[in-house]
Every structure is written in C-alpha cells, then in structure tokens.
C-alpha cells in the first residue's frame, strides 16, 4: 500500500494501420484517488484503457503497477494483477442471468465440479445489496433495461475487488439519481484505498467526483491537473486545443417550408408517440442518452424497420416508406451511426464506395457510365477535400475522418433534400470534424433539411437550430437554439423533467 502512485505509464505508444492512436503518452494515478481522463473522441483514452486491460498490446512503453513494471498479456492477467474495467460498450451475455454474468469466469464450484448456483446467487445478492442495487440476481439480462445492464456491469467490475478500477463512461445510460448513487459507491471505494480511472465527457462529473484530471488530445498526453485547480474553460481549451467558439462553424440560414414531418411514430419497446418537423435550411439536433431510441426512430423513418402507428410526411404529403429505396426516392439520405457496420464496404475502393447509392443514374444499356462516375467522384473529392491518393484506393486505408467524408459524398451524389446524419463526427479527428460541421452549414444554406443525431452536447448546442430530446423512447422536450443549455438538455435526456415542446410550429 506504500506506493505513492498505483499506476505509472511512461512513453507508451500504440499504432494501428494508418493511425497513431497513442503517441508517447504518460499517466500517473495516485493511490486512493479518483483520476479523470478526458479528451475528445479519438483522443486515445479508450485505447490506453484497453492496453491497461490487456486487450491491446502496446508497441512501446512501460507500465508500472504498484511500483513494479508489468506486462499485461490479456484480460485475465489484468484481473489477476488487480485491474478491472467497466466497458463503454456494454457487453453482457443476454441469455444468462445477472448472477452468471457478474461472476462469469469465477463461478463457485461444489463437489463433482458442478456450479453451486445457490452460492452464486447468494454472492450476487450480497454484492448487489452492498451497492444497494435492486435487481433480481436470477433474472436473465435480456430482460433488463439499458440502465440496469449498466449497473450490472458496474457491480461486476467492483466484484473483482481490484485495486484499480477503470470506468469508461459509466454514466452514459443512467439517470442523474443513479449517477449520485454511483458517486457514493465511487467515494466509498476510494476511501477504502482503491484507485479509480474515470473516463467521461461530462464536465460536471469531473468537478464533482475527480481528484485529478489528465487530458489527452489526438493520441498525445497534454497534461495532468488537480481537479480543484482548473476551470471548465481551461479544461475545454486543453481538450480541443483552441478556444471553443472556433469549434462550430454555424451561419444564420434562411428557414423555409417543412420538408419532413413525423407524426406520432410508435414502435413498442423502441419509441413511442414521437412527432417532429424539420424545415428547409434547418439543422434539427436530436439528443438523448444511449438507448433513448434516437437511432431506432430515424432508421424507422428511413424505412429500415416497420412501426405500429404514425405517419411520415414529405413536403406536406403523406408518403409510405417501406424500404430505404423508397426513402431515397423521396429525397432522403441516411448516414448511419456505425461507419464500419452499416456504412463502409471495407474492401472496395473509394470510388465504389461513393457511387453505390446513386448507381441507378449511371446505368447505361449493359454497363455503367464510368466516365461520369469518375467525374462525379472527383468533384466530390475536391469539394469535400477528401485526402486519398486516388479514387482506386481501398477505403479501409483512409483515416476515419476521410472515410466519413466519402460516406457523406455517397449521399450527396443522390442529391438529397433531407439528410439524416447519425453521429456524423464520432471517432474522427478534430480537423475533419470541423470540416464536416462547415459542410453541414453549407448544405443547410443550400436549402437542405438536416437532422443530426449526436451524443456530444457541445456539438448539439453548436450546430442545431432546434433540439429534440429523447428519453427511453419518448420525446421529452424540444428546445430552440437560443434557450438550449447543457443542463436543460441533460434534464430532459435523463427524464428528470418533462418539458412541453417550446417551439417547432
């Protein structure tokens, strides 16, 4: 217990093909403290945590834990060394019970090597009681809400009795009251001598719970401060590398007629009775916590899923959209949330990725008009300043930001009037992010209607003309740009306040 620093990371680097995720970073965590780690998406926080958790192996650098240099082979060796982690992506096994999930890999065994389920349940009940979490240990995880699953993950990480607990955005899906309870647990752990690395995007949480703050930017270590000796403003500037007001390029645009209207859309278990309008020249921001149903709602509008009731109107006329092809025909475009999963054709070229949604307009008798394709694609590459050696380059060799631009080009080629952008700047670097924001503003100025889903409050506040907030599938409020603040949005997003739509007619 006599180590001043439980964890010391020095000169650590990690490269992935095409990206330097961690560039000679350092991190020192004092024993018995809560240490916040901050930085934008893509700053390298999660990569470093995955190194500490044994999921990635560093290319170079030293990790000293409790004063001794260690190598972390895999997750098991991280746990044995005394490091446990709450993962950002919730990763339960849906068909197993709460108890089985928490003690997976550590089940109590009776005679004959059979698992002692009675003991397992007792152990789980004790743990949950200690954390005052009220969930039945024998219920299957598939039946739990997102918030409860998150509580289970937290309980699991704590159950390892580790000396260092890494929490990667543990509050992304829970309500404010549950956050307070989590903070109680964290303080109790700290007072018991444990150390905690706390990753978050939420400023208030940092000042609330952390003793120290370390900031990463673009894979580099920027600095460490005591939490009570730094201001919010300085923190943000260190994170983004410049003053905040330069961040979002926003111009006043002319707002025209209603382009898309959704009336009382309902799909049980996903979203309920949600209505909204978006006008020509307007950016409608959609905010909410993980699992609020934002993506499900917009994918439904785009015809990917069916719903029970509600209507969609394009330019005032009700339309029946039963598939993405219908949506495209009505002038809609959807940039999906997960670039890798539902956007990119990783093995295909930049060109092939770009023209695929607009292939219909290039069809000639028996072939495609490749000359026109080349001209269109080249003009997109120029306009969006996509950095690629050629149109033939395989897209997976591009950086995240450039891949995202190619996907935006794909939709721009279809000349849409309504653009739905789901997390358009997730996981891309600051420069590309700014360019995408500028592009969004230009598109709005050119008369497009834009719907942007974003989990980053500054982005929502910076880019939106109007903000719709969802909580557990319901619309909890709508705010005009002028009246919106981080606090108001969070209150609506956590379901603390149900406000009446303030604007939008």
């Amino acid at each position: 217990m006599a180590y001043e620093n439980i964890l010391e990371v020095e000169h650590l680097s990690k490269r992935f093909p095409g990206v330097v995720a961690l560039d000679d970073v350092e991190l020192r965590v004092k024993t018995g403290t809560v240490h916040a780690l901050m930085g934008e998406n893509g700053a390298g926080k999660s990569t470093l945590m995955k190194v500490l958790n044994g999921m990635y192996k560093p290319d170079s650098g030293v990790i000293r834990f409790k004063g001794e240099p260690i190598t972390i082979q895999d997750t098991r060796s991280a746990i044995l060394n005394g490091i446990s982690m709450i993962h950002q992506e919730l990763s339960p096994i849906p068909q197993m019970t709460v108890a089985e999930n928490i003690f997976l890999g550590r089940e109590p065994i009776g005679p004959l090597g059979l698992i002692n389920y009675k003991r397992l349940k007792e152990m789980t009940q004790e743990l949950l009681d200690r954390l005052s979490i009220r969930i039945d240990p024998s219920v299957k995880v598939v039946n739990l809400s997102v918030a409860n699953i998150q509580l289970i993950e937290i309980a699991k990480a704590i159950s390892y009795n580790a000396d260092l607990i890494i929490m990667d955005e543990p509050t992304s899906a829970i309500t404010e009251r549950e956050v307070e309870d989590l903070f109680k647990i964290i303080r109790a752990l700290r007072d018991g001598g444990k150390s905690i690395i706390y990753i978050t995007h939420k400023m208030d949480e940092v000042f609330h719970i952390a003793d120290y703050v370390t900031i990463f930017r673009d894979g580099k270590y920027i600095g460490t401060d005591k939490a009570d000796s730094i201001t919010k403003q300085v923190l943000i500037e260190k994170m983004v590398g410049r003053a905040l007001d330069e961040m979002f390029y926003k111009e006043k645009t002319k707002v025209g007629e209603v382009m898309l209207e959704a009336r009382n859309l309902t799909k049980t278990g996903q979203f309920e009775d949600v209505s909204f309008k978006v006008h020509r020249g307007e950016i409608l921001g959609i905010s909410g916590l993980m699992g609020a149903g934002r993506t499900e709602l917009l994918e439904n509008v785009f015809g990917i899923t069916s719903r029970e009731s509600g209507a969609v109107l394009v330019k005032g006329k009700e339309v029946r959209i039963k598939s993405p092809a219908d949506a495209i025909r009505h002038g809609m475009a959807l940039l999906t949330e997960d670039r890798k999963l539902t956007g990119l054709y990783q093995m295909l070229s930049v060109r092939d990725n770009m023209y695929i949604a607009n292939i219909r307009s290039y069809i000639r008798l028996l072939s495609l008009d490749f000359k026109k394709i080349r001209m269109d694609c080249e003009s997109q590459v120029r306009k969006l300043r996509i950095k690629t050696p050629s149109l033939q380059q395989t897209i997976r060799n591009l950086s995240g930001g450039n891949q995202q631009k190619v996907l935006i080009s794909r939709w721009l080629l279809t000349d849409p009037e309504i653009l739905i952008l789901d997390e358009p700047t997730r996981g891309i670097d600051v420069g590309a992010k700014a360019e995408i924001h500028r592009l969004m503003t230009e598109l709005a100025k050119a008369g497009k209607a834009i719907i942007m889903i974003s989990s980053e409050l500054p982005e929502i506040l910076g880019m939106s003309d109007r903000i719709l907030v969802m909580h557990e599938g319901r619309k909890t409020g709508e705010l005009a740009r002028e009246e919106a603040t981080q606090e108001k949005i969070m209150n609506l997003a956590t379901g603390e306040v149900e406000a009446i739509a303030a604007n939008g007619q």
Binding site: D74, M96, L104, G113, L114, S132, V139, N148
Partner: protein, 348 residues
C-alpha cells in the same frame, strides 16, 4: 416485495418472479420453455391415430434405436452450435471410428482380417482406440478454429472431406467384418429389454446435460456463443474451451461410430454419410439457435432427435413414398426453426 427501506435503492423494480397475469402467463412461459415438447406429444398422438402399430412397445423401441446414433452425435453438435460454431465432420468421424475400432475387434477365426496379427484383442482395445481417434479429429477441428481463426464451417468441411478419405484409405475401401461378440453387443444387445445403444444414449444425455448446464466448461461454451467479447473480457480462455467442445463433439461422434459398426457387425468406410446434417437438424428442431449462439439445451436436442424418429416412423408406417418423405422432412426443418424464431421474438 417493495418495502420502504428498499425505495432508496437504485435500479428498477425487481424483475422476474411469478407472473402477474396468472394462468395465461404460466402457459406462455411453459410454451417458451418447452414448446417443442408439446409438438412432440402432438406428433405421438397423431402417429397413434394414423397407425395402430405405432404404440407397440417393439415399434417404439425401434424408433429410439434407429435415431440413437443421431442422438449421440447431436449431443455434441448442440454444444458446438451453442458456441456459435458448426461441425460438419461428425459423419466422417463415424466412418473413421467404425473402420478403425472394427479393425481391432476382429475375431481370430476371420480369414480376411485387416491386421491378421492383431485379432482376438481384449474388448476394451477397439473401444479405446475408436474413442481416441474420434476425439483426435474433434481436437483438430477445435485447434483449427481456435488457432487459425478460420470459420468453423470451413474447418470442419475440410476435416469432413479428409477424414472420409482417411477412412477409405485405412480400410482399403472394404468393409472390416468378422467382429467379436462382445463388440457386437454394443449395437445389438439389450439390457432389461432395452437396447444397449438406447441406454448408452440416455446415460450420455444425462451426463452431457449436467456438463452443459452445471459445469464451468459448459457455461463458458454458452458465454462464448452468447458474446465472445464478454467472455474474453471476463478472463475466459476462449481458445481452450473451443478446442474442448469440438473434441467432445468428436468423442460423441466416435461413440456413434462404434454403435453403428457393432450394430451392423462391420466397420464400413461409407458409414455415417449425412449423419452430420441429421444431427444438426435434431439440435435445431430442439431449439438450438443457429442465428445466435448461446441458446440450446440437451433435453431440447433429445426431443428433436425423437421427433425425427417419430416422423420417420410415421412416414414408413403410412407408406409415404421415399421422395415425399424427404420433401416433408425439409418442410419440417424450416417450419420448426421459423416457429422457434417467432417464439423467441415474442419473449423480447
């Protein structure tokens, strides 16, 4: 359940426990849990109406006997599919085990013995050799999947093809006959009026059931199939457990191989053709999910096996033509899975 003291606690109201809507919920819960059992019972009732011969003890025993090899293989295949994999090599393992174990079970008076110097060996030798050979092929399957990361379909497609060739090579393409009485007892003998092979299936089913539902290894197979990343971050050695489950599947296929060879009194390199697909069918009808790993049970698979047996029997007893039989089987496989997927979706 909700006392005042608990109100301060976090989390939603406790979920689970008894349903509030009474009997309807209970029936629904039973349907989602053992729906396939209702279908099975329905089929038995239907069969007994269609043919008076069906319910005769002799016929029933026959039904079970005929699917016992499929049942044995399906026990292992269930675990493999639960781990989000597939095993296509079981039929070939049956053939290889049959010829190899038979070659060590030949009588000394048999003139055409494969190894004339190795006849009249103790009864245990062919069994051990056969089980070892099958387990070894299973181990190779698991090793390929765990270490080279090739898809299970491809890995076991490869071993399926190669092992079939190995069986032909080993037996020089001929049946290995003239087997000892003790060896033949496994497939032909009875204990207390029940075929020995049926008892073997019963015992192995019970052991496998406990292994899958109550041991760490079994639960890790479900965890790996349910969410391999979650299993990994929980410190489970994914590779080791995959190798184990494929080895176990190979072991059970070799048990089936010994049963088949001793049943017909001869180890033949062409045996077991298509058994791998029948075993997969049994598992899938019994509720093992191909679309998502982590779902499947031994009781389900046993019922799935019996459904195949009863169906075959009905079709034979009612003189349906062989072509029609296959068409009906095909429809039933797809139908069972559609019903099963629906059932699962309702639960969510």
């Amino acid at each position: 359940m909700a006392s005042k003291a608990e109100e301060a606690a976090i989390g939603e109201k406790p979920v689970g426990g008894a349903g509030k809507n009474g009997i309807l919920t209970t029936i629904k819960a039973m349907w989602t849990k053992i729906g396939i059992l209702f279908i099975f019972i329905g089929m038995v009732i239907l069969a007994s109406f269609l043919s008076p011969a069906f319910l005769k003890a002799n016929n029933l025993m026959n039904v079970v006997m005929q699917v016992s090899y499929i049942g044995l293989i399906a026990l292992g295949v269930t675990g493999v599919i639960v781990s989000a994999g597939v095993d296509l090599s079981s039929g070939s393992i049956v053939a290889l085990t049959a010829v190899v174990s038979s070659s060590f079970a030949q009588r000394p008076d048999w003139a055409a013995a494969l190894f004339p110097g190795l006849t009249g060996l103790p009864f245990i030798v062919p069994l051990m050799v056969g089980l070892l050979v099958g387990s070894l092929v299973g181990f190779v399957n698991g090793w390929l999947i765990a270490k080279t990361n090739i898809p299970p379909f491809i890995a076991t497609l490869g071993t399926m093809t190669a092992v079939r060739g190995l069986a032909q090579l080993y037996s020089r393409g001929r049946p290995v006959s003239g087997l000892s009485d003790a060896y033949n007892f496994i497939g032909q003998g009875s204990l207390f009026g029940v075929p020995f092979a049926v008892l073997l299936l019963l015992v192995l089913a019970i052991i496998t059931h406990f292994m899958y539902s109550r041991t760490r290894f079994g639960r890790y197979v479900y965890a790996i199939g349910g969410n391999v990343n979650a299993a990994r971050v929980s410190g489970i050695n994914v590779g080791k457990n995959l190798i184990l489950i494929y080895t176990f599947a190979g072991f059970l296929a070799s048990v089936a191989g010994i049963v088949v060879a001793s049943r017909i009194g001869s180890g033949q390199p062409g045996l077991g053709n298509g058994y791998e697909l029948q075993a997969i069918t049994a598992a899938v009808i019994g509720g093992t999910s191909f679309s998502s790993g982590g779902i499947g049970t031994v009781p389900g698979t046993i019922i799935g096996t019996l459904i195949i047996g009863v169906l075959n029997n009905i079709l034979v007893l009612t003189n349906v033509s062989a072509y029609f039989q296959d068409i009906i089987r095909g429809i039933i496989i797809v139908g069972a899975v559609i019903i099963d997927e629906r059932r699962r979706r309702v639960r969510k």
